[in-house]
């Protein structure tokens, strides 16, 4: 199989989010929509990751491998795609320009 023709989409957290963390859950405030959301541990973990830097779905899946329980790890790709979709629909995460190709 050859190289993929397009670099993968990356996702980043919307800027200026505010959060209160309480144990393994968080309350997050979106300063553009003025909406407030309740997030569970895996959503927070993914959001944190995407605040640090834009990542692709594959990156997020790899990250989740490390934090998921062994019996869940096979589904990491699925979880990652679902979490990114949910966070996007809440407006907390958005797709960004793909990264420039490494060999240009």
């Amino acid at each position: 199989m050859g190289e993929p023709l397009e670099p993968p989409n990356r996702f980043a957290a919307v800027s200026d989010l505010r959060a209160f963390e309480f144990d393994d859950e968080a309350i997050v405030f979106d300063p553009v929509a003025w909406d407030t959301h309740l997030l569970n541990a895996s959503a927070i973990a993914v959001l944190d990751l995407l605040v640090e830097a834009p990542r692709s779905e594959a990156d997020v899946a790899r990250f989740l491998q490390d934090v998921l329980r062994p019996e869940e790890r096979a589904n990491a790709a699925d979880f990652s795609s679902r979490l990114i979709r949910e966070l996007s629909s809440l407006g907390l995460v958005r797709a960004v320009e793909p990264s420039p190709r490494a060999n240009r």
């Binding site: 505010r18 209160f20 405030f29 309740l38």
Partner: protein, 312 residues
């Protein structure tokens, strides 16, 4: 001098002309009315309030008057006008006090964006507040009333008024609206409780109002620190059952059960977050009112204040 020290005639004079001033703490209202029966009712349920001058600026102006026109011979009604606007449906003419109370609550709930206004009953002891969100089936009013009759001081039965800059709880002292069976429950709970007349024909059933104690009224300008958030659930078959609630969940339930959380954006987010951080959050299932009051007292004792926790 308190309102209970005025004669009904003197009260009626104030109501008819310059208006009757009522200071709830975080806000003041001025009431005007020509309805004679209302004067006696107000003397009972607002008896502990100071008889203040009615000149100056008031947060909300309420007029309670008979509905004019042909109707007044067939089915007499009264209506409430809040700052010149008729917001609510009229009530039967013999049910003025509940309409006055609901009209005032409506006015307070819709114009004060200077505070975060939760929908909750709030009491305090030793300056430490218990916030009890008002959900259906909670029995919140009965529980709040009982607490105020057992050594807790009332901040409000309806409004958890949170100061935006520091999340302290402010007072919005109003008569407590008791419904149906609660009226007798509270009478039995404390025979000396001052309860106004019962109004059987309201859309919520029979309503009567418990007058706030005079020394609670005197404290209306004091603030309290957040300490406990308790979600009450009345269940006649239960004894007393306290379970912890996760703080993020408590935040969500408080925000969804508020009058203006969403309109205040980042300010209410910060204020509510700080309040929840400083509070211990619980669910209380109870069928035994005395037991519930005792349990909350215990819980408050056992809960260290957030200053203690931070080692301040």
């Amino acid at each position: 001098m308190r309102i209970a020290d005025l004669s009904v005639d003197a009260l009626l004079e104030r109501l008819s002309f310059s208006g009757l001033a009522l200071d709830f703490g975080a806000a003041r209202s001025r009431i005007r009315s020509s309805l004679r029966p209302l004067a006696g009712m107000l003397r009972t349920v607002y008896g502990g309030y100071p008889a203040e001058e009615s000149t100056g600026f008031f947060d909300v102006n309420i007029e309670l008057r008979p509905v004019p026109g042909i109707r007044r011979f067939i089915r007499p009604q009264c209506e409430v006008v809040c700052d010149g606007v008729r917001e609510l449906e009229p009530f039967p003419l013999d049910t003025p006090l509940p309409l006055l109370e609901w009209g005032t609550n409506y006015g307070l709930a819709t114009r004060l964006f200077c505070y975060l206004m939760l929908h909750a009953g709030v009491v305090e002891r030793g300056g430490r507040a218990i916030v009890m969100p008002a959900l259906p089936g909670s029995g919140k009013s009965t529980l709040t009333a009982a607490l105020t009759l057992r050594g807790f001081r009332l901040l409000s039965d309806e409004f958890g008024v949170v100061r935006l800059e520091d999340s302290r709880l402010m007072r919005m002292l109003r008569p407590l609206a008791l419904k149906n069976e609660s009226i007798d429950v509270i009478r039995r709970f404390d025979a000396s409780a001052v309860i106004g007349p019962s109004f059987p024909k309201t859309h919520k059933g029979t309503v009567a109002h418990l007058a706030p104690l005079a020394h609670h009224v005197d404290a209306r300008h004091e603030v309290a620190d957040p300490a406990l958030v308790v979600f009450p659930r009345f269940d006649a078959s239960a004894g007393v059952n306290l379970e912890p609630v996760k703080k993020a969940r408590a935040f969500a339930r408080l925000a969804n059960n508020s009058f203006n959380y969403h309109a205040l954006g980042p300010q209410s987010f910060d204020a509510l977050g700080r309040l929840v951080e400083e509070s211990s959050c619980w669910q209380l299932q109870y069928g035994d009112l005395e037991g519930a009051v005792a349990a909350l007292g215990d819980l408050l004792e056992r809960t260290p204040s957030s200053e203690t926790l931070q080692g301040v």
